[in-house]
């Protein structure tokens, strides 16, 4: 299976996403923002970083990139798309996911090993988790506060489209402790924490067992692998 990772100017975690994909047993394909070609990939990751410096709104300028037209098209046809952090912000700006992401309520960038609950394990990117499983995934952002109007929140909650929720600490003031959401079909998932940083023992988040040993992020990528093979 081939999973594309799009590099935008200012993308930072693109190489990490490619590494995660290969550790999960798939083939990573580097894609370039300026092209209109998805090179026949089966799924797409929009990686973390600060595309175009995130100066306007996070992900806003990147969401107008040439390749995003193809991504929007493919997503609407059901291709699995995962937006991580800046990628989540792009999905929101591209209106593939509802709501918006704003400055953290405490005003700072924050990096922490974040406990999450997997609220929905039937999306393309979460099928390898069990329902309500608690996982630890690194989080690092300055603008990760999820907001949406009442109606949207109700819809997300009602349809089970809140995929991940922060446990213990709400690190950025997100409404309803929302860490990640999906579209109605479940093929497009966006979240603020970084699964690609929890894929290799020695370089991941701390767990109760050992420092830097967390690999919960790997199953995002094995999930999509199995989904496509199935």
């Amino acid at each position: 299976m081939r999973i594309g990772v799009i590099t935008f100017p200012g993308s930072l975690d693109d190489r990490d996403a490619l590494r995660a994909i290969s550790l999960a047993g798939a083939e990573g394909v580097a894609l370039w923002h300026g092209e209109h070609d998805l090179h026949g990939v089966d799924a797409i990751v929009l990686p973390g970083g600060f595309s175009y410096g995130d100066y306007l709104r996070c992900g806003a300028i990147a969401s107008h990139s040439p390749i995003m037209a193809e991504v929007i098209d493919a997503a609407k046809k059901g291709m699995p798309v995962l937006g991580i952090c800046n990628g989540f912000q792009m999905l929101v700006e591209a209106h593939l996911l509802p709501g918006g992401l704003i400055r953290n309520h405490h005003g700072h960038f924050i990096r922490r090993d974040q406990l999450l609950r997997v609220e929905n394990n039937s999306t393309a990117w979460t099928s390898d988790f069990s329902a309500n499983e608690e996982i630890v995934i690194p989080l690092k952002n300055g603008e990760g506060g999820y907001i949406a109007n009442e109606e949207t929140l109700k819809e997300l909650e009602g349809e089970g489209r809140v995929v991940f929720r922060y446990l213990g600490v709400n690190p950025n003031g997100s409404l309803n402790d929302i860490a990640g959401i999906s579209n109605a079909q479940g093929n497009v998932v966006g979240l603020m924490p970084h699964p690609e940083h929890a894929v290799e023992a020695g370089f991941g988040p701390n767990t109760d067992f050992r420092m830097r040993s967390g690999v919960d992020g790997l199953r995002f990528f094995t999930s999509v692998l199995e989904g496509v093979l199935a």
Partner: protein, 762 residues
């Protein structure tokens, strides 16, 4: 409206014209020397160049005669792994398997006081460009910070800005921050120190140097456009040479654009990969003046530049301002004409604006044209290399004997366990020892996926080769209080501590960088401190056989007659064959034995204990036995190779007490510790057993099954070792028990340690 710059022709014709050299920071004799070199008065453009390049910051005119020691006090062993030594943008060290590492620490102190956010941000940006210019991919940053008193109202302004700026720039650039230092002391009140360190990795064959060789090769400026940043000084020239309306408003501050720099990194790496540049130089202080004169000096000696080709952000800039502008995120490359098209294709791919300014010549002159006229015609070496050199007067400080005589030996000690506990808690919560998460939580260390260790571990560690696990570790240290007591010893102690911090991570120390932060060189007592510190560092490096590969000097950290404590920040780089072997600073298991390596002496002078409990600074810094440090490092390495130890934490500020506190708090696993064996063997009291800052000591945890082997190792090497406790329960019950003295729940320790910085800054 067109402004005509002062031309060479004009300079020849008007020898008597008065020039504002003093306002530009040049001394009368320096100005006279420029006239002598040129055989005429300088044009205003030349004056701009000489004045910035001959400044203390760029020319090292007060420090040069001392820094030479770093190149002289060397043994063949010290050169063995050095691919590039002092004098280039950054030193390069061969770490094996075809890999090399380049690293350097630099100051951005003054700008960070004026505008803390942008000052600190551009400090990170500047040092990272040094690393790129060596042909390396930057892979990590660190920040060494010194602020004024924690409770001074201005300190919060500086802390918020500086930390925010480092976080913003480093995170946005995608470089993991893997460590640093944070100290508060009123001596830094008007002179905070913001040092930034960057590390890069490269394959041996990718090494690039800053020189302009090959007559006819193109000189190309790329990256951000040139604006009026950081050229407060040049406006003096502008007003002098052009009109009577007074200087235009030119800010002294620079604004950083980490996004532009990130793109520049990727663009440069692609240029290197495709072998499209012959030489490259970053633009930092003194901008185009520095880049052109240095590239030319280090190459074939000549260069012709058409200044009109510089892409401007602000079209009203004068020639002098363009020459002096410190706009960030710019690079200058030397490119073969036949490769120019390929070069342009890469920069266009990355949307990086680029212009060809001129070419390399063999005239031995740096000639710059503007508006079709010659405004600069100099021998570039006289600008970049043969600047003034001063042997400034030094004077033994009048106050230092009295300070040294005032030992902490006579300060009252805790009378009982309860008092000892109060002192312990006070230290744990003191701003210099308290938990730094308020700061470090704002730094990303995950990006790039190769961070094996970062704060709060003693050293940061990065995997270089994903197949073999080859990596490097790095730590920096400087204890300004020790340096105030004795700058020679203080510098040696800084090296010893950084060396030890790298060693306890499991890596082998290999090379040194330094950032020497001092008061005014025009003060003979400061100059004495400086000379002693450099001598101490150079001697210590020679003794440890570990070379200084580069660094930076920051003078004038002084308000009136109040100089900062001498603060020579020393960074040590080590290599580790496989980062999987890394040793954390804190234990992760219950029931391990705790050993103290090294001996404890009555050494409380300059200590955190004296500072926190008695507000005292006096006496002599702790003794520093460098051969002991080498033995200690080799012992740890031996133990690590056999996987005998679970954790290792070096003892420094706050002594054993602080090492224990940090170790139990980190993973919430308590410990039972006894002091009596230390007190008996080393003939010290409980206060010293807990708070002495004797060097050459490390606290290690060893699994029971490896006990015999570990002790055998210590015995074989005749290294002093004492079993001082065991790791204990974790969870809600976890506590640190100092037997016969006191017990503190880990939760209380954590709460105390975590509360301090948020209390002042959150």
């Amino acid at each position: 409206m067109a402004r005509h710059a002062d031309t060479v022709e004009n300079a020849v014709a008007t020898p008597e014209k008065e020039q504002p050299f003093a306002a530009l920071g040049l001394k009368p004799d320096e100005y006279a020397r420029i006239r002598e070199i040129l055989g005429r008065r300088p044009t205003s453009g030349e004056l701009a160049m000489y004045s910035v390049m001959w400044s203390e910051h760029c020319s090292y005119k007060s420090s040069k005669i001392y820094l030479r020691q770093f190149g002289q006090k060397v043994t063949p062993a010290m050169k063995e792994h050095l691919m590039v030594g002092m004098g280039e943008n950054a030193g390069v060290v061969d770490i094996g398997e075809g890999w090399a590492v380049t690293f350097k620490v630099e100051s951005h102190n003054h700008p960070s006081y004026i505008e803390p956010f942008q000052g600190a941000a551009t400090g990170v940006g500047g040092i990272v460009r040094d690393i790129i210019s060596m042909g390396a991919r930057p892979v990590a940053v660190m920040d060494q910070l010194r602020f004024g008193a924690v409770d001074n109202p201005d300190t919060a302004r500086v802390v918020h800005g500086v930390v925010g700026g480092i976080s913003f720039y480093g995170n946005c650039l995608g470089l993991p921050n893997i460590g640093g230092e944070t100290y508060f002391d009123s001596c830094y009140q008007g002179n905070p120190l913001v040092n930034a360190l960057a590390v890069g990795v490269l394959r041996h064959e990718d090494l690039h140097l800053a020189n302009a060789s090959g007559v006819g090769n193109k000189v190309v400026l790329f990256g951000a456009r040139t604006g009026g940043d950081g050229i407060g000084g040049a406006s003096i020239l502008a007003s002098d040479s052009f009109d009577k309306t007074g200087p235009t408003k030119r800010p002294a501050v620079q604004v950083g654009d980490p996004f532009a720099e990130k793109v520049l990194i990727e663009c440069c790496l692609e240029l290197y990969r495709n072998e499209l540049v012959e030489g490259i130089q970053d633009l930092g202080a003194a901008g185009i003046s520095c880049a052109t004169s240095e590239l030319a000096s280090n190459g074939d000696g000549g260069m012709f530049i058409e200044l009109d080709n510089v892409l401007l952000r602000d079209p009203t800039l004068t020639a002098e301002e363009i020459l002096m502008s410190e706009s960030q995120e710019r690079m200058m490359a030397v490119v073969r004409p036949e490769k120019l098209d390929a070069f342009m294709a890469v920069v266009n791919k990355w949307d990086v604006e680029t212009s060809v300014l001129g070419e390399v010549t063999d005239t031995g002159r740096l000639i710059i044209h503007h508006g079709g006229e010659e405004i600069v015609n100099v021998d570039p070496r006289t600008v970049a290399i043969d600047g003034p050199v001063y042997e400034r007067p030094v004077a033994y400080p009048s106050w230092i004997d009295a300070l040294n005589a005032d030992s902490a030996r006579d300060l009252p000690r805790a009378a009982n366990g309860e008092e000892l506990k109060e002192q312990f808690l006070a230290l744990v919560a003191s701003p210099n020892l308290a938990d730094k998460s308020y700061i470090t939580d704002q730094y990303d260390y995950y990006v790039m996926g190769n961070t094996a260790l970062a704060f709060p571990d003693d050293a940061g560690m990065i995997r270089v080769d994903e197949q073999s696990g080859l990596g490097f570790a790095i730590a920096t240290d400087a204890n300004g209080r020790y340096c105030q007591l004795d700058p020679y010893e203080g510098a040696r102690l800084a090296l010893a501590e950084a060396y030890r911090n790298v060693a306890v991570s499991g890596a082998t120390p290999m090379a040194v960088t330094d950032c020497l932060n001092f008061g005014s060189p025009e003060d003979p007592e400061v100059m004495w401190q400086f000379s002693r510190a450099v001598e101490g560092l150079a001697d210590a490096c020679l003794e440890m056989e570990i070379p200084v590969t580069g660094g930076n000097v920051s003078f004038y950290n002084q308000t009136g007659t109040n100089a900062i404590h001498p603060t020579p920040v020393v960074g040590v780089l080590g290599v580790i064959d496989d980062v999987a072997r890394r040793i954390p600073s804190a234990w992760q298991d219950e029931g391990h034995n705790l050993y103290l390596l090294g001996v404890t002496r009555e050494e409380l002078d300059g200590s955190a204990w004296a500072n926190t409990v008695h507000k005292h600074l006096g006496g002599r810094p702790p003794e520093c036995d460098l051969s002991r440090e080498i033995e200690l490092a080799s012992l740890i390495r031996g133990a690590s190779l056999e996987s005998l130890i679970g954790s290792a934490h070096d003892l420094s500020d706050g002594g054993l007490a602080q090492a224990l506190a940090e170790s139990v708090v980190r993973f919430g696993i308590g410990a039972r510790v006894w002091l009596n064996d230390i007190m008996e063997r080393d003939a010290v009291d409980a206060t010293n057993a807990l708070f002495s800052e004797s060097t050459g000591r490390v606290l290690v945890s060893v699994p029971r099954e490896d006990d015999v082997k570990f002790l055998g190792l210590c015995e074989a090497r005749e290294f002093p070792v004492l079993r001082i406790g065991v790791t204990d329960r974790s969870g809600a019950e976890a506590a640190l028990e100092i037997q016969g003295e006191f017990t503190v729940p880990v939760s209380e320790l954590r709460a105390r340690s975590n509360a301090t910085l948020p209390h002042y800054f959150a």
